[in-house]
Symmetry: C2
């Protein structure tokens, strides 16, 4: 059983700690990296030894946050997981080594399983980086351009560049506070939201070709197979930002993206608007996430995966079915 604590209690625990290991989730995104590197820089400015670990390689596009931050080796005394809702999401290696002994988890997922000794979770925040910024302020650390850049990245990437429902007034104000210090936001927004390789554009075209609609167009399903990825020439860093596409289509309540994994099975992303709860759908398939964006995995053929997620959507949302 975890003990849920406030931002201030989390700040107090961190102030007392040293030789701190920070953990990011696998398939690292802007929020887990922004949270980890912001807190790392903040704690170092207080004279502490800190290291960030991630089970997967960090995509090159985040170099502007991560490339110039050296990672010293030391025996960790205090372990924190940031933006990690479940120790499984650390990836197999880090889960085995650290999953059972996380001292503090700082997160914004309502589906957080409460695995750490202390958990500081605010599901009203658009990004874990917003909780981190509050804690950094409570520790009395002055915001530097490097820290502000990490926090801005977390907020912007987890809110779809302030487009999603979670982009509330606090998200905008925190972004503005970061920008006051000096954030290269034009570059960050271009790298994260505006830049597509030619291979990515080809992959989008292939995926759009195979878009399927169900229940009077209320459900849209897009598939990304390994064959399509190979044909387009897309690399791993071309794959982000695909899941929102099906829900962008007019009239769609539930947008589903099935992405084939290396082992042939499917990773499923669900995006919804005000009409549906994405998390409720994914929970039925052993996954989880947020109200508007959630995920799960289904083993089997493409047809089996499609049938399973469609059935889950119908169960979670009986209003979908229009006689």
């Amino acid at each position: 059983m975890t003990q849920y604590i406030s931002d201030r209690q989390a700040a107090d625990l961190l102030k007392k700690a040293d030789n701190i290991l920070l953990l990011a989730h696998q398939y690292p995104d802007g929020d887990t990296l922004g949270s980890n590197f912001a807190l790392c820089l903040a704690l170092r400015s207080m004279g502490k030894r800190v290291r960030v670990l991630c089970g997967d390689p960090i995509p090159e596009k985040y170099d502007y946050m991560t490339a110039e931050v050296p990672m010293p080796d030391f025996e960790p005394e205090y372990i924190c997981a940031l933006d990690v809702a479940d120790p499984k999401l650390l990836g197999p290696a880090l889960q085995a080594e650290y999953g059972h002994r996380v001292d503090l988890c700082i997160d914004h997922h309502s589906t957080n399983v409460g695995y750490a000794t202390h958990s500081c979770v605010d599901a009203s925040c658009a990004a874990a980086a917003m909780v981190i910024l509050r804690i950094i302020r409570l520790m009395g650390v002055v915001l530097t351009p490097a820290i502000a850049t990490c926090i801005y990245t977390g907020i912007a990437t987890d809110s779809g560049c302030f487009k999603y429902s979670n982009a509330d007034a606090e998200a905008h104000r925190m972004a503005a506070d970061c920008m006051d210090v000096g954030v290269p936001y034009e570059m960050i927004n271009r790298v994260n939201f505006d830049m597509k390789s030619r291979a990515r554009i080809e992959l989008e075209r292939l995926a759009l070709d195979g878009m399927e609609f169900h229940h009077d167009g209320r459900v849209a399903m897009m598939t990304i197979t390994n064959e399509m990825v190979a044909k387009s020439g897309a690399k791993e860093n071309d794959m982000e930002g695909l899941p929102p596409i099906p829900r962008q289509i007019e009239g769609v309540w539930v947008g589903i993206t099935l992405r084939q994994k290396a082992d042939g099975n499917y990773k499923i992303s669900v995006r919804t608007g005000t009409h549906a709860d994405a998390s409720a759908i994914c929970v039925l398939l052993g996954g989880g996430g947020h109200n508007r964006a959630a995920g799960c995995a289904v083993d089997g053929t493409l047809e089996e995966a499609k049938a399973a997620v469609l059935k889950a959507a119908e169960e979670a949302l009986p209003r979908l079915i229009t006689g």
Copy 2:
């Protein structure tokens, strides 16, 4: 010759005025409509008679701002153009009737030609709606949810939902201030940035098929012909948001979109990053706009239009030409 005035002077002029006609630009977008309807509601709350006029029909997607605002008929005594950089942009009918007698122009285009008696222009603002919000505050009007919704729409639409370089800290803070009052931003963002018809998606596929690259991929050119529009089934309101696409491709400095007009000639939109000035390119073809987003028109065949804009890009940006 216009007289350039401050926000406060503009507020003072408006406080003294009555029977006010507000003018939006043709092909109305979220900023010209948000600015006009916000100022209209603010001035009415001060007991004034105000009307908004636009030379083109207002797209349905803006109904949430405009549908429930009645437009009384009266003889205008004071004429203001908002977000209108040049009287030509009022469209032929409104230009003929009002273009020569605009009392006050409130705008954020650096290319504003200074045609009104008084001009209140701040080119540092992401949206004309930001200048309007300052003026509304200076007039002492309390922000209502309806006014805040209009201002938010102007800021969000002209900043690409806070993605473009103009989305600075002030833009975020003004958005947050509007949200405090009560803005249905989830709906607004979905309507303006996230919703695409199936016809639009088909049109994007056709346009991507014909994408052309020049100068080592630094220039990308996308064409939308009348034939492609007919084939996709796209309607006028499916056509927004196409110009940013070419510049989204990795390595592109100058993204050009050529859209065929009803008369067969071409309307050209140019988008650039930090490497190039879009306005400098379009000015060479008799157009104008902002640093990162500008437009012009070229008469002739598609090949002639492409050659003309490519030549203008090369002239404005000799660095494009490698070896």
